[in-house]
């Protein structure tokens, strides 16, 4: 079986499981909304301030949402050792990781579909004219977040204090991605808005490097 076919089967499994339990999406959306709403009350920002601080705030909300979502990604395979059943199947090991990555990407994208319009209203930041460019930035930023997050979720899944271990491992690694994503978003929120190709290249480079590393190291990631 090819990697994309196996990853597709596992993606549909993840979606079905999430539809059944609604564990990840509910928690992620509610938590990230709380962050955005609380900050809007705390700072009561003007439009100029919102353009200045908004990108950082938005990506902090995405990071928290991602951390919440990524932790159970592999951990919930522990319940009946279902990861063992997947590893026994004649599918490429990378397909197991890729299926999880695609599912996490989809869940984060759904959370952002709720979060970004709320942010736009509360912070008085108009998204008119920058929607497609913002989608490009979010796509590259989210991809980096879920690629590294899924990998470290696999690494920390067997650890006793995995809830603590994942952020400890993940946050330092994500620093370059977050800086690039915030800067790229800030240039979109500026007047006039612009798509900063330098930061986009950093985001794309980060995604390619970590996706390649996870492909090379997936055998070790899934091993006990």
């Amino acid at each position: 079986m090819t990697t994309p076919h196996a990853a597709w089967i596992l993606l549909t499994k993840e979606l079905r499981l999430e539809l059944r339990t609604r564990e990840l999406l509910n928690a992620t959306i509610v938590f990230s909304l709380i962050v955005v709403v609380l900050f809007s009350f705390a700072f009561d920002p003007t439009a100029a301030e919102a353009r200045r601080y908004g990108p950082g705030l938005l990506w902090i909300a995405f990071l928290f949402a991602g951390s919440l979502m990524l932790n159970p990604s592999f951990a919930r395979e522990q319940a009946n050792d279902t990861l063992d059943a997947l590893r026994l199947a004649p599918v490429p090991p990378f397909a197991l990781v890729l299926g999880k990555m695609l599912a996490n990407f989809l869940f984060l994208a759904i959370a952002e579909c709720v979060l970004v319009p709320v942010f736009s209203i509360l912070y008085n930041v108009s998204l008119a004219g920058i929607v497609w460019r913002l989608i490009v930035v979010l796509f590259l930023g989210d991809a980096g977040l879920v690629i590294t997050g899924t990998v470290f979720s696999a690494v920390s899944a067997h650890a006793r204090m995995r809830e603590l271990l994942l952020p400890l491992l993940l946050l330092p690694i994500l620093a370059p991605l977050l800086i690039a994503a915030v800067e790229a978003t800030a240039s979109l929120f500026a007047d006039p808005p612009a798509l900063d190709r330098t930061w986009l290249s950093v985001l794309a480079g980060f995604d390619v490097v970590f996706l390649t590393a996870s492909w090379i190291l997936c055998d070790y990631l899934l091993e006990e």
Binding site: I9, L17, D81, D84
Partner: protein, 239 residues
């Protein structure tokens, strides 16, 4: 379990296999050759290394040293080929509690690229007596029902090597009878079976070989082609 023809039986060759977990050594230079079609009863006290041996045989775990080779009647089988031919019933059920019985089996049928998947899944459920609960979530099943479904999952792709880790756990009298019938059919089909169990399991009557582990080493082995009954009797008396 299913009318589909079984995969060719495969055997195993463990050569000086050791497995260490930190300072604890679970297997100590174990050498064992299991021919295709053998039904091996793997016995020993708790912590003797039975589960570790089965996990290494299933490729879920790599040995710290030594080598494991898969063999068929036609020669060596690569680890990738062997993966398709191995079925495992472990301590855990390896099933998704939030999925129904039929969803669990369909997922694995797709992962194993099985032909006539719907038919095979329906047959497997009927055979293990869970057809009437096919659409119920596994979390609503009793321990025995989960164990039956776990075995149905392990047999869905008609494996040539079946690894069973305490398969009778949680089964009632009726379940044990079903397990015995299923194992007898597998032995008749020529499937290689390695079953870790305790000495009083009724299914041991089917074994063509008995191997007793102690402290990560082979303590006693009735040998390939030998009679396992004297060893099993002696172990029953000791138990």
């Amino acid at each position: 379990m299913s009318s589909h023809s079984p995969a060719p039986a495969i055997g195993l060759r463990f050569e000086s296999v050791s497995k260490r977990f930190g300072t604890f050594t679970a297997l100590r230079g174990l050498t064992l050759e299991i021919s295709p079609g053998e039904f091996v009863a793997l016995l020993g006290h708790n912590g003797a290394g039975k589960t570790t041996l089965l996990r290494i045989a299933s490729q879920l775990m790599h040995p710290s040293s030594g080598a494991v080779t898969f063999v068929s009647q036609n020669g060596t089988v690569s680890p990738d080929q062997a993966r398709r031919l191995v079925g495992l019933v472990a301590h855990s059920t390896l099933l998704y509690d939030d999925f129904s019985a039929v969803e669990n089996l369909k997922l694995f049928a797709r992962l194993y690229s099985l032909d006539h998947a719907e038919e095979r899944v329906a047959q497997a459920l009927e055979s293990c007596g869970l057809g009437w609960r096919a659409t119920s979530p596994v979390r609503t099943f009793s321990r025995g029902m989960r164990q039956r479904l776990a075995l149905a999952r392990a047999l869905l792709h008609s494996p040539g090597l079946l690894l069973l880790d305490e398969p009778a756990a949680g089964l009632d009298r009726q379940g044990l009878a079903w397990l015995g019938t299923t194992l007898a059919r597998l032995r008749g089909d020529g499937c290689t079976v390695i079953m870790s169990t305790h000495a009083r399991n009724e299914s041991l009557e089917l074994a063509t070989r008995a191997v007793n582990l102690s402290g990560g080493r082979i303590d006693r082995d009735s040998g390939s082609g030998g009679d396992p009954r004297p060893l099993l009797s002696s172990l029953r008396e000791e138990a």
